[in-house]
């Protein structure tokens, strides 16, 4: 994985010193809250319902064991013993003291981590496929591209005050595991007819109050021109994005209002100007690509493990293996997902002890790598098959072996009104009640892939628009109310869910989800037809009849 060079470390250390001084000036009264707020947000420090919240960046969701152990240390020393992994592959701490913020960032910097650009109207953490470097279906490791974009976007002087926040995702497989088309810019690394690597560029996707699936703006941009093309995409947005209206300020509104063809024309014009300038654009030389790519070279897999298979004697292990373990491109190895969705638990939360354990397991069994998924789970990407049973035993002992990847209880939920000052309703208790209702594992497995996603407000941090079943919490005259949506997808078949009808109270939404699921069981062509495919085949009406009677 990528290691900081002198410039990376110097930039982060300088920012830590600067922010430590800004915190001291706020505590002394030299800075007012109005003066301090934009400064703390640039460093990921929010003021939420109960305390300050610190969002720490996890670039493209990749962590080393040492970094995971540091996250555990922060949870233990400065928070209340746990952290929350988010839908943007980051981690949030909910109980941070302002007086500790500078020290926390200094400790994170010792393991090449920071909270820079995890808030504010700038280019945020670059997200990617959690199976990068391990997936059999990828054409390249997307993290090389994501890391180059991270370097380009960090402290980019022209793009530090965009009209609104800006999120980029990079994948390199046809199966989209990163909700790529629901980002401001989504990139898919592909090969052209000549066999050259480049990117298909989607611009103007997003969720929030105006959800949109990003249109394809360019089929192919070569690796030698990608950064210049991204610069052009951002320049057009920075110039014409709606700074007068926060609700219309995201790039998706600009692309929609101009139309993809006109936006593309303007980007191409800007791109041509940049390429015509001395130097031919901003793309780095091949040597810099090679330098970054070397950090993501495959680990030293053992060819002699190729024929290994795990011992399948334990029936519980077999269930976990079939549900949470994916094929690896290297024979003899596997990708193991650690569910952070135990029945009745809080989606995405992990205790300091669990984080320490996962750090140990990553170091021992996965070439020192952990991944964070946008579905709020963790992944050990390179596990020898011969070690899978030992891994499962260790996870099971720590409450981390829930066998529910992509099943009905593998629910995405934002922090909601339990933690978030923007929320209108609680998300977590709804996720807990649904998971409890469907706790029976045989029932879950019979239902198959079924992605439920819950947001506590229209900002859609819980990706409710992209849920096969989506739930949106709203405030109805001071009382929590939940709207139900069907038919969304964040995958390669991206689509936006549609609202079924009138909303429900907390108990009612759980019943409504169960009626929806039972309708699916009756309507599906056979047990292999997914919920989403049944919905797309039969439409909303039979589900509405089942939900509302």
């Amino acid at each position: 994985m990528y290691r900081y060079d002198h410039y990376d470390q110097a930039m982060v250390d300088a920012r830590v010193a600067e922010f430590r001084d800004q915190c001291a000036r706020r505590l002394s009264g030299e800075l007012t809250e109005d003066q301090f707020k934009p400064l703390r947000l640039m460093n990921g420090l929010y003021l939420q319902l109960h305390a300050y919240m610190l969002r720490v960046a996890i670039p493209y969701g990749t962590l080393s064991g040492a970094q995971m152990r540091m996250l555990a240390q922060v949870a233990r020393k400065y928070d209340r013993g746990y952290g929350h992994f988010t839908t943007r592959q980051n981690i949030q701490y909910n109980w941070i003291k302002l007086e500790d913020a500078g020290t926390i960032l200094a400790e994170l910097a010792t393991v090449e981590m920071h909270a820079i650009q995890t808030s504010g109207n700038c280019i945020r953490n670059i997200s990617s496929d959690q199976y990068a470097g391990a997936a059999a279906d990828e054409v390249a490791d997307p993290r090389v591209w994501a890391e180059l974009i991270r370097q380009w976007s960090s402290f980019h002087p022209e793009f530090s005050y965009l009209p609104r926040k800006f999120k980029i995702a990079v994948i390199a497989a046809n199966e989209d595991r990163a909700a790529m088309k629901l980002h401001d810019i989504g990139l898919q690394v592909v090969r052209n007819d000549a066999g050259e690597l480049g990117c298909a560029v989607y611009v103007g996707g997003g969720m929030g109050r105006t959800p949109m699936v990003g249109p394809l703006i360019r089929e192919f941009v070569g690796a030698d021109a990608l950064m210049t093309y991204l610069e052009a995409c951002l320049r057009v947005y920075n110039r014409y994005g709606r700074r007068d209206n926060i609700y219309k300020a995201r790039i998706k509104i600009l692309v929609h209002d101009l139309g993809p063809d006109e936006y593309r024309r303007q980007v191409e014009e800007e791109f041509a100007q940049l390429r015509a300038a001395p130097g031919g654009g901003i793309d780095p030389p091949a040597a810099e690509w090679d330098r970054i790519a070397a950090h993501f070279a495959p680990p030293p897999f053992q060819a002699s493990f190729a024929d290994d298979e795990p011992d399948l004697a334990d029936p519980d292990f077999r269930v976990w293996l079939s549900q949470n373990v994916q094929a690896h491109k290297q024979p003899g190895y596997a990708i193991a997902t650690i569910s952070l969705k135990p029945v009745g638990g809080i989606p995405g939360d992990a205790s300091a002890e669990q984080m320490d354990l996962i750090a140990d397991l990553a170091e021992r069994l996965s070439f020192d790598e952990v991944r964070v998924t946008h579905a709020q789970n963790l992944v050990l990407p390179h596990v020898p098959k011969r070690e899978l049973y030992a891994l499962w035993q260790a996870l099971d002992a720590a409450g981390l072996a829930t066998s529910n990847l992509d099943l009905v209880s593998d629910i995405i939920a934002c922090p909601g009104l339990d933690y978030c000052s923007l929320a209108n309703a609680r998300s977590i208790p709804v996720a807990q009640r649904i998971a409890e209702r469907f706790a029976d594992m045989d029932r879950q497995r019979d239902l198959g892939e079924l992605k439920i996603k819950i947001s506590g407000c229209i900002n859609a941090c819980g990706h409710h628009h992209a849920g096969h079943i989506g739930i949106l919490g709203v405030d109805r005259k001071g009382v929590e109310n939940y709207q139900l949506l069907l038919g969304g997808s964040g995958a390669e078949d991206a689509s936006l869910g549609k609202i079924t009808g009138p909303g429900f109270d907390e108990a009612g939404i759980v019943d409504a989800v169960e009626r929806t699921v039972e309708a699916y069981r009756r309507l599906r062509a056979d047990s292999s037809e997914r919920f989403l495919d049944t919905y797309r085949r039969v439409g909303m009406q039979p589900f509405k009849e089942a939900i509302y009677g």
Binding site: L27, L47, A51, K97, E99, A423
Partner: protein, 98 residues
């Protein structure tokens, strides 16, 4: 009744105006009547509280209760972590929040 609440500048903890100071305990909150603005101005200037605001509340035999669910959750802590609530680990303490 009206209560005054905010977050402690240094710790970020939710605090309530008692009439003379700030407390993390809602039960100690005082009715500020029409004086919220002047108290906020003084307290913010003294850096004793961050982003204070006034909320509607009802008086009950067990103490004041904010009208809006968001402020009731702020008063007690996350409903999904009763072990982090005030008073600590008292599951019954949250019965009035929702």
């Amino acid at each position: 009744m009206k209560l005054l609440t905010g977050n402690d500048l240094a710790s970020g903890a939710v605090v309530w105006w008692t009439g003379s100071d700030w407390s993390v305990h809602l039960e100690e909150a005082a009715d500020v009547g029409e004086h919220a603005e002047e108290i906020m101005a003084v307290e913010e200037a003294a850096r004793r509280v961050n982003t204070p605001y006034a909320v509607d509340a009802q008086a009950t035999p067990n103490g004041p209760r904010p009208s809006h669910i968001k402020d009731r959750i702020r008063a007690l802590g996350p409903t999904v972590r009763p072990d982090l609530s005030l008073p600590k680990a008292d599951r019954a303490a949250g019965s009035w929040v929702i």
